[in-house]
């Protein structure tokens, strides 16, 4: 990978990496999408109740009755007695599946029906990637978790090792890939070691060493990567592991690769081997909260409940961030119990951060942003071109290739909001290109 940064010392992850996943089911969930259920209807957990933006099915994440339904959201009130039902255990959670009976098409169909989307943050429908007609050589399972603070994928691998591995097998079959590589950054060595014991007992872990071939001939390989943000970016991961680049405007499938998040693989295992749709996910609640931890919660769980569950936010001057601190979204400032959005399929973390915005000062042309940019752009020049409203120059500077990782804003000594404006420039350039191609 080119560029990149070390945003923190790694202590931020230490806080929650040892904390076991806790189950939590709220009394009420609020889901977003288009729903066909009516008010007052009773729904069961896992029942199809609507579709989302991508026309992917949405399933009730708790059992209960529909309290309120609107065009874009739906609230379900749960019944306590149904919530505490014991979970069934399945063989796929306890051993490696030797032979998957389903065909690739069946697996993809199940993934689609289960409403599985990329759980790393993109939220792109998973089945879409696997339906490609292109020949796939490699399936990369992204467990880099390069964002600071988040530990949900790490806990998932440690607590659901077999489910993760079986999910990878299923996805590999769906993609018809020759090889699957589970990519883990070396700050999660324990998790990697643990999975290696399940997969190939007694064998050593491979480390990414910069050489062209660091692969063995196994079908599933676990590869340790050096820790560096934003290595978990799809394109950056391909560059690090396979020494290939996805061409501009192309998809990973164009170079024979599919990248899926490790949580997506676990969800695929649930869908394929137990016919369970995606109704819950692991969320890391951390930062300035009394008791940080990892929670397994239904989709639609209110964020304020998660914060209260973690003992509340310690400081008055806080910012509540959904997702990772580098690419997440700030949903509240100085939060003090107000209503917040709910957990979505892509919500990997809830972080209470304490910081003050610093004033922007003029660019001093130190070139730090250029050194940090993983896409090889010149962020400060795009910033100037954007402020000049020079769309043509933005396009010539490849603003369209920004991956919004935030490295440039992180390193900027002048505290300029580079990422924010380059993403805006990117959208303008993409829009312009679209209009141009439509004219033709």
């Amino acid at each position: 990978m080119r560029g990149g940064i070390h945003p923190t010392s790694g202590e931020d992850k230490e806080v929650t990496k040892e904390k076991p996943i806790r189950n939590f089911v709220p009394d009420e969930v609020k889901m977003e999408g288009n729903f066909f259920v009516k008010k007052g209807e009773s729904v069961k957990k896992g029942e199809k109740i609507g579709t989302d933006f991508w026309k992917i099915p949405l399933h009730a994440s708790i059992t209960g009755t529909v309290r309120e339904v609107d065009e874009t959201w739906c609230m379900i009130t749960g019944k306590k007695e149904d919530i505490d039902k014991e979970k069934k255990s399945f063989p796929y959670q306890e051993k490696l599946i030797q032979e998957i009976s389903e065909s690739a098409e069946e697996i993809i169909g199940k993934i689609k029906e289960a409403g599985i989307v990329g759980m790393g943050g993109a939220g792109f429908p998973t089945y879409f990637k696997y339906e490609t007609k292109k020949e796939i050589t490699y399936l990369l399972i992204n467990a880099a978790e390069c964002e600071p603070f988040l530990t949900c994928d790490e806990r998932l691998m440690i607590e659901n090792g077999y489910a993760v591995l079986n999910g990878i097998l299923a996805l590999k079959k769906a993609a018809d890939a020759k090889k699957a590589i589970l990519c883990i950054e070396d700050n999660k060595r324990e998790a990697a070691q643990f999975l290696q014991e399940l997969l190939n007992p007694g064998q050593e872990l491979q480390k990414e060493n910069g050489k062209k071939e660091n692969q063995d001939d196994r079908e599933i390989q676990i590869l340790l990567l050096p820790t560096r943000y934003p290595q978990g970016g799809e394109r950056q991961l391909i560059q690090t592991v396979l020494k290939k680049e996805v061409p501009i405007g192309g998809l990973p499938a164009d170079v024979g690769v599919i990248v899926s998040n490790v949580a997506t693989a676990k969800a695929a295992a649930d869908a394929v081997f137990a016919d369970q749709p995606l109704t819950e996910r692991i969320v890391t609640v951390t930062g300035a909260v009394e008791d940080p931890g990892n929670y397994l919660v239904p989709i639609g769980t209110p964020i304020e409940m998660l914060l209260e569950l973690s003992g509340g936010v310690c400081e008055k001057e806080n910012k509540i961030i959904l997702g990772g601190p580098m690419t997440g979204k700030c949903v509240a400032e100085n939060w003090n119990g107000e209503t917040l959005p709910t957990v979505k399929k892509t919500t990997s973390g809830v972080i209470a951060m304490l910081f003050q915005k610093e004033k922007e000062t003029p660019c001093i042309r130190c070139g730090a942003c250029i050194r940090a940019c993983p896409a090889g752009l010149a962020p400060f020049q795009i910033d100037i071109a954007y402020l000049d409203e020079d769309e043509k120059l933005c396009e010539m500077l490849y603003a369209s290739e920004c991956i919004a990782c935030g490295c440039c804003s992180y390193v900027c000594p002048a505290k300029r909001e580079l990422t924010h404006r380059i993403v805006k420039a990117r959208e303008i350039v993409r829009q312009k290109r679209k209009e141009r191609s439509e004219k033709k």
Binding site: R2, P7, T8, P148, R235, E245, V246, I248, G249, K319, I321, P325, M326, T327, G328, K329, C330, V331, A332, E333, I351, F355, K357, E358, E360, T361, P362, C363, I364, R365, C366, G367, P374, A375, G376, A378, F380, Q381, D383, I384, A385, L387, D388, D390, L393, M396, L397, Y398, E401, G406, S409, Y410, V411, C412, P413, A414, E417, T419, H420, R421
Partner: protein, 323 residues
């Protein structure tokens, strides 16, 4: 809830002010040396120069109603470097004129920090050198109560034998500008900057090496007869290499090395062929003017593209922000 807080929510703690503060700190050993060699007047001149720079920047920004960045210490660093380039006998009013020219004309009129295309300190020195050349040519012997003398390099230019050893040159016990004589103390400060990761040490090395090697190869008495150490230690080469070449007038990483090389070639050229003994000032300023073309050699590839990405044109505007 609408929020003005934008991702990423983690920012490095390094700021412009911190960088400039480190530059000022790194100049302190050389300043101490200057006081030791040339007396208290060296300190007064340097402080005066830094103060004039900061205040003139503040005044200009106030008058033109720009964002006030005068306190970010970049002007103070410029002022110190400018004083470092002058002999201790320089009248205050000459230094004042140089400061004003450097900050107002060279730095602020071109758009302020980051937008000046030449090094303000060197440009300020060039200005007074042209207008009041007599006033800033009185170099004195260290610890001598103002006995004037030619610098090592100008003595060499006039083909007279200088009586200073290389060790004296390295330690700073020679006539010269306030801050440039003690190579040892400059290097200590520079190592601090390298340790902090603020400067591109490669560029400094390329510059210093290219000047020393070229002046050695094309010596006065034929090929490979130049005074290698004399050129390296006799004048302001190390100060120029450590602080002027590494200035952030942006060119790309590889472009920066080319820029250093160009500055080195021009400096050596002046030292060998022209009447000027030093050439640092002209060499670096000329290379500054080439920065626009040198930055075109940017060869970082955009991810997923086959061809090399070029920085298309330099535009000013780093001043603005969206508020």
């Amino acid at each position: 809830m609408k929020t003005e807080y934008l991702a990423p929510y983690l920012r490095s703690c390094r700021s412009t002010k911190e960088i400039m503060r480190d530059v000022v700190i790194s100049l302190l050993p050389a300043l101490g040396g200057a006081v030791y060699f040339f007396g208290l007047r060296a300190l007064t001149l340097t402080l005066f120069s830094a103060a004039v720079c900061v205040l003139s920047e503040y005044g200009w920004q106030k008058i033109t109603k720009r964002q006030i960045t005068a306190w970010d210490l970049s002007a103070a660093a410029t002022g110190m470097l400018l004083a470092f380039n002058m002999p201790v006998t320089t009248p205050f009013w000459v230094l004042f004129a140089a400061d004003l020219f450097a900050i107002v004309v060279v730095k602020q009129m071109f758009g302020g920090i980051g937008n000046n295309f030449v090094n303000p300190a060197l440009m300020g020195r060039l200005f007074v050198m042209t207008v009041w050349s007599g006033e800033i040519m009185q170099y004195v012997i260290p610890k001598s109560d103002g006995v004037s003398s030619a610098t090592v390099l100008s003595a060499a230019k006039q083909q007279t034998q200088s009586s200073y050893t290389y060790l004296q040159m390295f330690l700073g016990d020679i006539p010269g500008a306030i801050g440039e004589t003690s190579k040892l103390l400059i290097l200590i400060g520079f190592l601090y900057l390298c340790w902090k990761g603020i400067v591109n040490a490669k560029a400094a090395l390329v510059y210093i090496a290219s000047v020393s090697v070229l002046t050695f190869v094309f010596g006065r008495e034929g090929l490979f007869t130049g005074d290698f150490l004399g050129n390296l230690l006799g004048g302001g080469l190390i100060l120029g290499g450590c602080y002027m070449i590494t200035d952030y007038a942006f060119v790309s990483q590889k472009g920066k090395l080319l820029f250093a090389l160009a500055a080195g070639v021009i400096t050596a050229w002046i030292r060998i062929f022209s009447v000027y003994p030093e050439g640092i000032c002209f060499g670096i300023l000329t290379a500054n003017c080439l920065a626009g073309i040198l930055s075109m050699t940017e060869n970082d590839r955009v991810y997923g593209t086959a061809e090399k990405h070029r920085i298309i044109k330099m535009k000013d505007g780093g001043q603005r922000s969206e508020q």
